[in-house]
């Protein structure tokens, strides 16, 4: 294992110190329990938008804390959900009197820890669970679809709604609408190594790729020979399009995400192919996001996310955002 770390045990808190040093104007980092909070929290009269999850997916979630997105993020250990006291602490640090919305990715541990946090928090707390990963085919006999790339879009759009003063009920309804309209799928060319484990999470031969991966270095549904970029994009896009389904005339946001170890040159290459495939089907790409925003440590790979847009989602996507990882309109 070669990593830029001092000690596997303190990776998360050491990285949080660096985030605080890098963004003193935007973030206020608390260490016990670990919570990344907007520097100007609590925003009075505004619904607090809170998320969290295992570390190792940076910039998700801490990099999305700031005006127009998250009020707080709760970083767990690498690939491990945060604990209820972290989430409850985030609620009390950010509640400006309008309640808090917890954005939870659908993983067994995350769901249970956020559920317990809701039970112990003093404020009015609601939660939504995002499960946009079409790679999980059989929801009945599994823990259900995972929350992946759609989480970034959800946090941006609901964060903008809270920023313009929407009520907790309105934020929940909007979040449910986004969750119902977004689908994702990912692939890996390499595994990744969790610092406290020290060995790769799975073995992939040089000529193999794993289709349908999650974001925790877990294997996917299917292992196939590495193909061309066009074949890879189709392998991700086809199941997404069939699932919602997306059809000719739909307006969409296309999010081409890197898993951490794939360079932007490859992401742009893939993004161009995806745009062309969508245009061929008469699907109108109205907004885009390209880059590593929800990652799996140093894994090489990518995911595609499609969100079916309406006018309100477009205007909320365009609304000002000022966070370490996303910034426009300010």
């Amino acid at each position: 294992m070669k990593k830029i770390i001092n000690d596997p045990e303190t990776v998360v808190q050491d990285a949080l110190r660096g985030m605080q040093a890098a963004h003193p104007d935007l973030l206020s980092v608390h260490y016990d329990p670990a919570v990344v909070v907007r520097a100007d929290a609590p925003a009075q009269g505004k619904v607090a938008i809170i998320s969290g999850g295992g570390s190792g997916h940076e910039p998700l979630h801490g990099g999305f804390v700031g005006r127009g997105m998250l009020d707080a993020a709760c970083p767990g250990a690498v690939f491990t959900s945060p604990t209820p006291d972290q989430v409850a602490s985030a609620v009390s640090l950010t509640d400006g009197g309008a309640g808090a919305l917890l954005i939870v990715k659908n993983y067994t541990g995350d769901v249970m820890n956020f559920e317990m946090a809701g039970e112990i928090a003093d404020s009015e707390v609601r939660s939504v669970v995002i499960d946009d990963d079409v790679a999980v085919q059989d929801s009945l006999y599994t823990a259900g679809r995972r929350g992946v790339g759609g989480t970034v879009l959800l946090e941006k759009i609901v964060g903008a709604a809270a920023d313009r003063g929407d009520s907790l009920d309105a934020c929940v309804a909007l979040a449910e609408r986004v969750i119902a309209s977004v689908r994702s799928m990912g692939l890996a060319l390499t595994a990744c190594t969790v610092p406290h484990v020290g060995t790769p999470s799975f073995e992939l031969a040089d000529d193999e790729m794993e289709i349908g991966i999650g974001i925790h270095g877990e294997p996917g549904r299917q292992r196939v020979p590495v193909g061309t970029a066009s074949e890879m994009v189709s392998a991700l896009l086809d199941p997404i399009l069939e699932d919602l389904p997306f059809s000719s005339g739909d307006r969409v946001l296309l999010f081409t995400n890197g898993m951490g170890g794939t360079p932007l040159i490859e992401l742009y290459l893939a993004h161009g192919i995806a745009e062309q495939l969508l245009a061929d089907r008469g699907i109108m790409v109205e907004r885009r996001l390209v880059g590593p925003f929800i990652t799996s440590l140093e894994m090489q790979g990518m995911s595609l996310t499609l969100l079916k847009l309406d006018d309100e989602m477009v205007s909320l996507w365009d609304a000002p955002v000022h966070t370490p990882a996303l910034r426009w309109g300010v």
Partner: protein, 208 residues
């Protein structure tokens, strides 16, 4: 003679040592079908528990169990934190203010722990989870009429068998479920840690 608060603390110290010894094994089991964090999460939780047991005095078995619950909930994370946390919290409530636990109280605590795990995680027997170790353990404990050590020993034996029974299962809960058929052929790490804990409790009771 029943279990006092000091006996429960001694059992937990033994259990913490067992978890530390088996940390790498639990990581490997979880690496095969999950996300490789179970061993490290459990080690972190039980290490934190040891320092709380050193610094805080709990005056009844129920209070010790509650201390375990709050420590694990706030330090373990993942699925294991809420599940073991809820288990110990329910066990604590089940024994109330009793100063000593007899075998009935121990059986009651075990049953409450299982009920808590099922309520929190919604798993049933056959889903390839800790429920597959805990359920037969509780049945075995209820069928034994004897000392606390005998009750826990029967529970530990049944839990070990229950854990082994997860090997051929296809996971239907937790992160292993994403693997579908590829999850078969592996021991469930949560079932394994449950069996390890019950064995440690039984060993401690036998020494007491």
């Amino acid at each position: 003679m029943g279990c006092t608060a000091a006996d429960v603390v001694a059992a937990l110290r033994l259990a913490a040592g067992v978890i530390q010894e088996h940390r790498d094994e639990l990581v490997r089991l979880d690496q095969a079908i999950g996300d490789a964090d179970h061993g490290e999460n459990m080690r972190r939780g039980f290490t934190a528990l040891l320092s709380r047991l050193d610094s805080e005095e709990a005056t009844s078995p129920g209070k010790v169990l509650k201390l375990v619950a709050t420590t694990l909930i706030s330090t373990v994370g993942g699925a294991a934190g809420p599940l073991y946390g809820t288990a110990f919290l329910r066990a604590s409530a089940a024994v109330g203010d009793l100063q000593e636990l007899d075998c009935d109280a121990v059986a009651r605590a075990l049953q409450a722990a299982l009920d808590g795990v099922v309520a929190r995680g919604k798993a049933v027997v056959g889903d390839k989870t800790m429920v597959d170790a805990l359920t037969p353990a509780i049945a075995a404990a209820a069928s034994v009429d004897g000392s606390v050590a005998a009750v826990l020993s029967a529970a530990a034996d049944a839990a070990a068998e229950g854990a082994e029974s997860t090997v051929p299962m296809v996971a239907r809960k937790g992160r292993a479920s994403y693997l579908g058929e590829r999850s078969a052929g592996h021991l469930d790490p949560g079932a394994r840690s449950t069996a390890l804990l019950l064995r440690a409790f039984a060993d401690a009771a036998a020494k007491a």
